[in-house]
Amino acid sequence: MRNILAFARGSLVLISKGSRAYYIWVFSLLALISMGVLAYIHQLQNGLIVTAMRDQVSWGFYISNFTFIVGVAAAAVLLVIPAYVYHWKPIKEIAILGELLAVSAIIMCLLFVTADLGRPDRFWHLIPVIGLLNFPQSLLAWDVFVLNLYLTLNLVIAGYMLYSLYHRREPKKSFITPLLLFSIPAAISIHTVTAFLYSGMGARIFWNASILAPRFLASAFCSGPAFMILVFLLVRRYTKFQIKDAAIHKIAELIAYAMFINLFLLGAEVFKEFYTASAHLVPMKYLFFGIDGHTALVPWIWTAMLFNLTAFFIFLAPSVRKNHFMLVIGCVLIFIGVYIEKGMGLVIPGFVPDVLHEIYEYKPTGIEVMISLGIWATGLFLFTLSLRVAIPILNGDFHIAPDGRGSHIGDHLFLVQAKAADPGEDAEQSTAASARSDP
């Protein structure tokens, strides 16, 4: 008990100390979070009428973000497989960062779903026994289940590993290995179930395609790892934590394969729709070309296509992807490209035209954007804090004191001078911020 307290106290010390860049980053996130909370209060008071969603387009920006972030949460599994199935050492050392990302991402997913609910006060209806979960009929019930399962798994794995390392013990293999192995199908299941949630509806021709689940997986294995690479590059640059080039290049290589499959599957679908040119074509036509002058999504989807293709070529050639400047560009392009394609680009054409063929063009309102930014900031905030504790532990700078009572925080350089972990998604911005904080 006392050990846990010391651990918690030490973590608090770590969280509250850092470079100037760290403070700027954390407080900007807190500001965004407060803005999101205020916007959400406004939404609670007035109802979802403050969004641009209507009966014709009944899901919008929140569910788009949700769908995309479910994909990001997969990052972990792409690290876990080489690390623990093939025991590839360079990645084994960093897999835990992927698990921490998964935890933050799933929390964001749950927040996005909550923001979308008309009656968040009734969330307890989803809890089995006291509520009434429609299991196994409703795919949304499945989704709630697998998301929580995946969250718990990653929390337990990352928490246990870090806590063991803090105690300078080897994590118990017999306990952790089954959990790690189990997290692989769990990661795949969160995507599959989310895809099934859409593809199971005969009413929505745009989603009612069996290719949807494989496409989800392929694009998830692009966006999540791309984000991880950006984080790794930042961590490596601004902390003492060593991440080997080999690990980063391996992940980049995996992204190249995943992007190829993603583009191939997309091409297969586009071909089928446009060549057949049946009534099913309408939503896809809306997405890529617009119909009857309704073109809200057109510039976005072409941006996404351009970004994804460029990134694919960057990642394809080993010599190019090993150039870290190009690598950063590629990762940013992929992240944005998949965000558009798997977010609004997937959700909105399901509703436009609607089931009675009415066209209502959806554009999120300021409130929706503010709430969503708040949720993104929450996720990044949680991830930053978890890295702030995890990295010193992995470095061996934060561990139980030799007398076995308090905690020991070594390396004051790290706290005072050196640069804290700064997992900004925007590489340049945080680089600039950190440069300013250099002594």
């Binding site: 899901w59 609910l117 008309g118 009734r122 006291i130 009434l132 795919l139 009413a203 009675l356 009415e358």
Partner: protein, 306 residues
């Protein structure tokens, strides 16, 4: 739809309902004990699922709702929960060749069923179609507004909940807030719906509507004769839909749905599908029947004649 198929569907449904009931009974033992009516906010918060309520639970809930609505709308509001009638399954018929597109059914429904006037909710949508294009909804006009109907070269198709025999909307609901009653009516428990709108994505007919804001109904326009699963005033943030006027059609002797009574040309027909002598059965047997989006196998109990 053949009779055999219909029967099969019914048997399936009955066994499923039984299973669910057993499950619900088992689980309700574990459910939170509801407190005495100290604060109705808490009563509302902890209110059980409609199908898990005991008789006395239900009476208390109905009394509380009557109290709330009566004070909100400054008049006596009745909230009933009349159960389905044995041996009855409702079916609706609509004669496309008679409909003149006047939308009287739409407004008759709004008044009977206490739909929100602001923002506007309509459970019935009448679309204008071109004769040469047939029932292809791609050419449907939703907001047609001529000085006079009918117009040459056009015909009209009112669309509302089809009370599907295999409703995709109830299948997807994560909390079973919407289900099919024994008489075939698909209902929503407005006090259990969490407002996720998954059912709206699943319904192929645009029949489900969401309360994006708190519904506004002027006091003098309220229909005070209501049903728990039907036309009682709805809270913000939940889904609602046509219930074949459950508050009227379940009465004995039964009354017709309001849209049928509002129709000036007699295009609308209603009756018991299980009674071989009923008007609706005779019409289905003798007229040419068109089912909307038949290919989706939702098996509507709403039959278009043409």
């Amino acid at each position: 739809m053949s009779d055999k198929k219909k029967r099969d569907a019914k048997v399936f449904q009955l066994t499923r309902r039984k299973a669910l009931k057993g499950l619900a009974a088992g689980a309700s033992v574990l459910a939170l004990p509801s407190r005495d009516a100290a604060a109705s906010v808490w009563d509302a918060f902890f209110q059980k699922h409609f199908r898990r309520m005991t008789k006395s639970d239900l009476e208390r809930v109905l009394a509380r709702l009557e109290r709330e609505y009566s004070s909100e709308f400054s008049q006596e509001v009745k909230v009933g929960a009349t159960p389905p009638i044995e041996g009855v399954k409702y079916g609706y018929g609509l004669d496309l060749s008679r409909c003149i597109g006047c939308r009287r059914c739409v407004y008759g429904c709004v008044e009977e069923n206490n739909q929100s006037r602001d923002p506007q909710i309509h459970w019935i949508r009448v679309v204008r179609l071109k004769k040469e294009k047939g029932t292809d909804l791609h050419y449907a006009e939703h907001y047609y507004n001529p000085n006079q109907v009918p117009e040459p070269g056009h015909f009209y198709m009112p669309i509302q909940c089809q009370q599907c025999e295999k409703p995709p909307c109830t299948k997807v609901c994560p909390v079973q807030a919407t289900w099919t009653e024994k008489d075939g009516i698909v209902v929503v428990d407005y006090n259990w719906c969490i407002g996720c709108r998954y059912c709206m994505a699943a319904c192929p007919y645009g029949a489900r509507h969401f309360n994006w804001a708190k519904p506004q109904i002027p006091n003098e326009s309220l229909n005070p004769q209501t049903h728990y699963l039907g036309n009682r005033p709805r809270p913000v943030g939940v889904v609602e839909k046509c219930t074949f006027c459950i508050q009227r059609t379940r009465q004995q002797p039964g009354r017709y749905p309001a849209c049928l009574e509002a129709c000036p040309v007699g295009a609308r027909k209603f009756g018991n599908l299980l009674d071989p002598e009923s008007e609706i059965r005779k019409l289905i047997e003798n007229k040419r029947v068109y089912l909307l989006k038949e290919e989706l196998n939702t098996q509507p109990k709403f039959f278009y004649f043409f």
